[in-house]
Each structure stands twice: as C-alpha cells, then as structure tokens.
C-alpha cells in the first residue's frame, strides 16, 4: 500500500468503516510510515476535540413547546392548541384542511375520553395528567424497565442534567417498575413509574426554581388524582387513578425517605 492509498483510507480506518483486509493493509503500512502515523494522530486529535460533549449545543428550553404548537392537533394537551401559530406562510390550503380534519378528530377523541372536560384548567396540572394518560395510551410507558432503584437512578443520571431521587416502596404496596424521560412545561423531566395492584402511577420530577419546600397539595380531575409538593430542590407531581388517600400515603412515604 502506498502513502496515497493510506491517506485515502485513513478516515475510514479511524471510524472503523473499513473491511478487515483493507484495515490490515492500512495498519501494516502505518507501521513503517511516520508521515501516515502523524496524519492519523492529527485526525485523532480532531476527533477527541469534537468528541467533547460541551461542543454540542444545548436545546433551548422553549423549543419543545414551539414544536408542539406547529404540529396539527396537539391531542394530548389541549391548551397547546390555543398557542398554535397563525399565518404560517408555508401552510398550504390542503394542509390547512387536513389539519382541520385532524383537529376535529382529535377533539372528538378528547370529548369521548373526557379529557376536554378539564380544559382550560390549571395548565401544569392538566399537562401532568395529559402526560400520565399519554404514557398509558402510547407504547411508551417505560424507557428503562426495572424494579431496581440502583438501575433506574443511574439511567436518569446519564440522560438528564439532574439526578432525581428514585426509591422502591414495594413493601408498602407501591412497586417501582421503571422510568422514562418525559417533557413537561417545555423541559425534560424524569418520570419514575410505579405500580399499585393493576394501577400505574407516574411520579414526575424536575428541579424547582427555589429550594423552598411546599406541603403536599391534592387535586382531583376526571378520575385522576394528583399530589404535588416541592422538596430538596425538586418539584414532585404524582399522578394516578388510584384513590386519593393511597396517593397521599405514597407522597408521605416519598417525603419521609428523601
């Protein structure tokens, strides 16, 4: 293999995109050629520098909401329909018609499922319930299915900028079944998922603006119970269709342990 050949293959070699025999030839050539070794080294330097996670850009917190607002018929969160942008220049007439049909179908669905009854309510509370409902509808309840808190907690640590408290309360009848990433209020949040008998419980956690703790507040809407509190720099939103007393007990447990 000549130096020219080696130069042609050096990036694919670095990226493990070469077939085995060519890779062997590149390696053999490199062994006796300091120029090509230097070239490979220069490529590695570039790769290492670009591999620094800080080089990537952070997604603006508002982007998720903006995306939701341009998508037709934000089915799971009715309030976002009110934010839909008007006068979008590339929104063609057929698309607008299609969007209208989808909105109608979406509204029909919302009406049927009773979700619309809640609208317009306390927006965050509604959003939390919507996310709970959606987690049950879609095949997306769990990103990390595990009953082990020592599996679920580190999983979040790799995905989020904060490390949410994750505990199992199986002995009290609230079994940890896993976790997933979710979006609430335009930010990435942790959803820790529990099960009580056949009922699914979502515990949404994200950092709160202040370190102030607030007592648990309970809300009830359309058969769903929500308990909200703030503690240790985190906001907690507990949502489920289990009865309110059980959910408050769960909140007590979580607060005592953390």
């Amino acid at each position: 293999m000549t130096c020219q050949d080696c130069r042609d293959f050096i990036d694919a070699y670095l990226d493990n995109e070469l077939d085995v025999s060519t890779a062997v030839h590149v390696r053999q050539h490199m062994h006796g050629c300091s120029d090509c070794q230097e070239l490979l080294e220069s490529r590695r330097v570039v790769q290492t520098l670009l591999g620094n996670p800080q080089v990537r850009f952070e997604v603006p917190a508002t982007l998720f909401g903006k995306i939701q607002s341009v998508l037709p018929a934000a089915s799971s969160s009715a309030k976002q329909q009110t934010r839909a942008r008007s006068g979008v220049p590339w929104l063609s007439v057929p698309l607008a018609l299609a969007a209208a049909v989808i909105v109608l179908l979406g509204l029909a669905f919302l009406y049927q499922t009773g979700i619309l009854d809640r609208w317009p309510g306390n927006s965050l509370e509604t959003e939390v319930i919507s996310n709970h409902v959606r987690s049950l509808l879609a095949t997306h309840l769990l990103d990390v299915p595990s009953t082990d808190q020592h599996t679920v907690k580190p999983w979040f640590a790799g995905k989020l900028k904060f490390s949410p408290p994750v505990q199992d309360f199986a002995e009290n009848g609230f079994r940890l079944i896993g976790g997933r990433l979710d979006f609430i209020d335009g930010r990435e949040v942790a959803a820790v998922v529990y099960q009580r008998n056949k009922h699914v419980i979502n515990l949404f956690i994200w950092p709160s603006e202040s370190n102030r703790s607030t007592a648990a507040q309970t809300f009830a809407k359309d058969g769903y119970n929500v308990v909200h509190w703030t503690r240790g720099g985190f906001q907690f939103w507990l949502v489920s269709d289990v009865n309110a007393q059980d959910l408050r007990d769960f909140a007590e447990l979580e607060m005592q342990r953390s």
Binding site: D11, S42, V55, L63, L137, A138
Partner: protein, 177 residues
C-alpha cells in the same frame, strides 16, 4: 391506526430526536433563532410525510434528512451560501501532502475555538463533519441524510477534518487559548 395513535407514534419516534435535529440545524444555520425555526418546520414536514415512513426504516436518518433539506432551503433563501467560500477553491487550497503542524498545538484548543473552527468550515464539509463527529452517524447513514455517495462522504470528511486540524493549530499557535 387512528389519528391519536399516529400522533402518539410520531411523538414517540421523533421527539427523542429533538436534540440531534437541533444540533444539526444549529451547526448548519449558525444561529439559534434560525435553527429553532428550521427544527419546527422539520417536525411539521415530518408529520406531513409520516404516512410515507415505513416501519423498519432508520428513523434517525429519515428525520435528519428532512432537517438537512430544510436547512438548505432556508440557507438558499437567505443567500448565505453565496457568502461561503466556494467549495472547489477550498478543496484545492489544502495540499494533503504539506507537513502537518505538530499535534500538541491543536490539542490545546478550547471548546470555543473548536466551535469557531467547525463554524468556519464550508457548509458542504461542515455537515459531513457534524453528522460524523457530533451526531455519531455511520458513513451509510451520512450518505442517506445528505444524499451524497459514500465515496464523496469519505473525501469530504477527510478534507473537513484536515482543514479543522489546520485551523485549530493556527488558532492555538496565535495564543487564542
């Protein structure tokens, strides 16, 4: 599949790609505002074309191709491309055989310097470098996203990396630490 399920499936498949989509757009558009606009439009387009998305297709390539094309449309619209140094000139301008600056110079580049160096690449090289180094795509996926044959992907990646190395060495040599 009804609309509700379609929407849920769309969200489950495509919302997790928001970070990749935004980063690609941010690197190609070079500013936050335009990148956000492009990502929004990409999601809308993807939703319109979602019926044509086949199970088993590489979802990431499929969506990033939409993002990439939206970027190019937007770039053409604002005539940014004509301000870029023409591709041929850049390509010819880098003799691959010239002696390389010593590696210890470039190694010291800060995150800011690295970002500026990537931004300084002509868009044709920048997109390939970003897709490979920042988005971690395989050559085949890069080829699908960019619509460029794998051979060209390889040569652009080589030139892009080479040029980055030269820029980084020069910047750190000039005390931009």
């Amino acid at each position: 599949m009804n609309d509700e399920q379609t929407r849920a499936r769309f969200e489950a498949l495509l919302l997790p790609l928001m970070n990749e989509a935004y980063n690609l757009a941010r690197w190609l558009m070079k500013n936050q505002e335009d990148a956000e606009d492009v990502v929004q439009e990409s999601y809308l387009r993807a939703f319109r074309f979602f019926a044509g998305f086949r199970e088993g297709t590489n979802c990431r390539s499929w969506f990033l191709r939409i993002v990439r094309n939206c970027c190019y449309t937007a770039l053409e619209a604002r005539n940014v491309k004509k301000n870029e140094v023409p591709l041929d000139f850049e390509a010819d301008d880098i003799p691959d055989t010239s002696p390389l600056p010593s590696a210890h110079l470039a190694q010291k580049a800060t995150v800011e310097v690295v970002r500026e160096a990537v931004a300084a690449l002509p868009v044709e090289f920048r997109e390939i470098v970003v897709l490979r180094e920042l988005e971690g795509l395989a050559y085949k996926e890069i080829s699908e996203v960019s619509g460029i044959p794998i051979g060209t992907v390889m040569s652009r990646l080589a030139r892009g990396r080479h040029q980055l190395y030269l820029i980084l060495s020069k910047q750190t040599e000039h005390g931009r630490l």
